[in-house]
């Protein structure tokens, strides 16, 4: 069933169609919210808010504007930007030095850890580094490298030209790389390179 048909059935009151949409997209939207906020509880609340907003505005979905996933990303992105602006004052209390000190402590953990723990550590550290990027660069990097959207889809989501999308992604990656290479464990990438 294509997106247009699925949405048409939802609007007609088919709860099974709506449940299918929720189950298909919840994980991706939760990941997007978490990578943007860095807080699990906030991400959970925002994910619920995204689907509430989507449920209320489902009639406005236009298949000609892109896939349902792209539209859902756009709804999420708008909500995340609103949330970012609303919580800006709280975030300004933490300094870069504090965060980098915290990052270093996390990476100084024993090297021999099981895979799950190592991945959790990596995720937390990258999350903190991502939080140092400006919202414009962060959303571009997250949409490309974590949500794995195509340039065209990101362009539709952010409503900016593809050239700008590429530029933001590459600048975001370079900025993130600069932050990461100051941290123990991220300064020698030989294991990752071919």
């Amino acid at each position: 069933m294509d997106d247009a048909e699925l949405v048409r059935r939802c609007v007609a009151g088919d709860s099974a169609a709506w449940e299918s949409i929720v189950r298909t997209h919840t994980r991706r939207i939760y990941n997007l919210c978490y990578r943007f906020t860095g807080q699990r509880q906030e991400a959970e609340d925002l994910t619920q808010e995204v689907f509430l907003r989507m449920f209320r505005t489902l009639k406005s979905y236009d298949p000609a504007q892109g896939a349902l996933g792209v539209w859902l990303h756009r709804v999420s992105r708008n909500l995340l930007i609103d949330h970012y602006r609303a919580t800006r004052r709280d975030r300004m209390t933490s300094s870069l030095d504090d965060e980098l000190t915290h990052l270093g402590e996390k990476e100084a953990a024993p090297a021999q850890q099981d895979r799950q723990v190592a991945l959790r550590e990596l995720s937390a550290t990258l999350q903190r580094a991502l939080a140092r990027l400006s919202p414009e660069l962060r959303e571009a990097v997250v949409l490309r490298d974590l949500q794995e959207l195509e340039y065209r889809e990101i362009s539709q989501t952010l409503n900016i030209p593809e050239g700008t999308v590429k530029s933001r992604i590459n600048r975001g990656r370079a900025e993130l790389g600069r932050i990461l290479k100051r941290l123990p464990g991220f300064d020698s990438p030989e294991g990752m390179l071919q």
């Binding site: 009151g13 709860s15 709506w18 449940e19 929720v22 189950r23 919840t26 994980r27 991706r28 939760y30 990941n31 978490y34 699990r40 959970e44 994910t47 619920q48 689907f51 509430l52 449920f55 991945l119 990596l122 995720s123 990258l126 990097v141 490298d145 974590l146 590429k166 590459n170 990656r173 370079a174 993130l176 790389g177 600069r178 990461l180 290479k181 991220f186 990438p189 990752m192 390179l193 071919q194």
Partner: protein, 216 residues
């Protein structure tokens, strides 16, 4: 293989960062970017991309989908009045409920009977708080008086009081009379049973008898 330099790297930057080059080209491009101050930022960007792509997507918290569906799916249709009444009857018709109700009615009747309250005689004025207070006060005094009368009329209490009165009258000093001089050889009379020691002895004997009855 052509040597990699700054111009070539910038021309193929997207392919380089996305890892879409052949393995040999990637190695050569990495070598150049790492050693070139102008291209160093692209080497950092490539490392960041590789780190990010190592991350696995997080699992959504358990129950999140269910909560979303609970908030977004329309509430169930309202039940009809007959359905609600039917559910109420099902609850009331259970034996446990009937026994509980019967016990409550019996307890209430018992309490009303003990308080000497007749529901037939209840009037609107009786529900006035002042009247309720007066009635409860009167009832309490009457109950106390009945209890006191019951205790006073007990045979044991009656006998004990009678004996105590006798004891009190015996203990009172007799009217002053000049003591007669005892004649020579005249001895004091033995106890005739009306003296203090006789009363205490009688009470002791009664107590012993009651105790024996109780033990039997």
């Amino acid at each position: 293989m052509t040597k990699w330099n700054c111009e070539r790297l910038e021309a193929r930057l997207d392919d380089y960062l996305e890892g879409r080059l052949a393995a040999a080209d990637l190695r050569a491009a990495d070598a150049h970017a790492r050693s070139c101050s102008r291209c160093a930022e692209w080497f950092d960007a490539r490392c960041a991309t590789l780190w990010l792509r190592r991350l696995e997507p997080l699992e959504a918290p358990p129950g999140l989908e269910t909560r979303i569906l609970a908030q977004t799916v329309a509430p169930p249709p309202r039940e009809s009045l007959w359905a609600v009444l039917g559910q109420g009857w099902t609850l009331v018709s259970q034996p446990r409920f009937a026994f509980g109700l019967a016990a409550a009615v019996f307890s209430a009747a018992l309490a009303l009977s003990a308080l000497d309250v007749s529901l037939r005689d209840v009037r609107a004025a009786d529900l006035n708080p002042a009247n309720i207070y007066r009635a409860v006060n009167r009832q309490a005094h009457q109950t106390y008086a009945r209890g006191a009368r019951f205790v006073n009329e007990l045979r044991l209490v009656y006998e004990i009081r009678t004996r105590l009165e006798a004891f009190r009258s015996d203990a009172e000093p007799p009217a002053p009379q000049p003591p007669p001089d005892p004649g020579p050889g005249e001895q004091p009379k033995p106890d005739d049973g009306n003296s203090v020691s006789g009363t205490i002895g009688w009470l002791y004997a009664y107590h012993q008898m009651t105790l024996v009855r109780t033990l039997r």
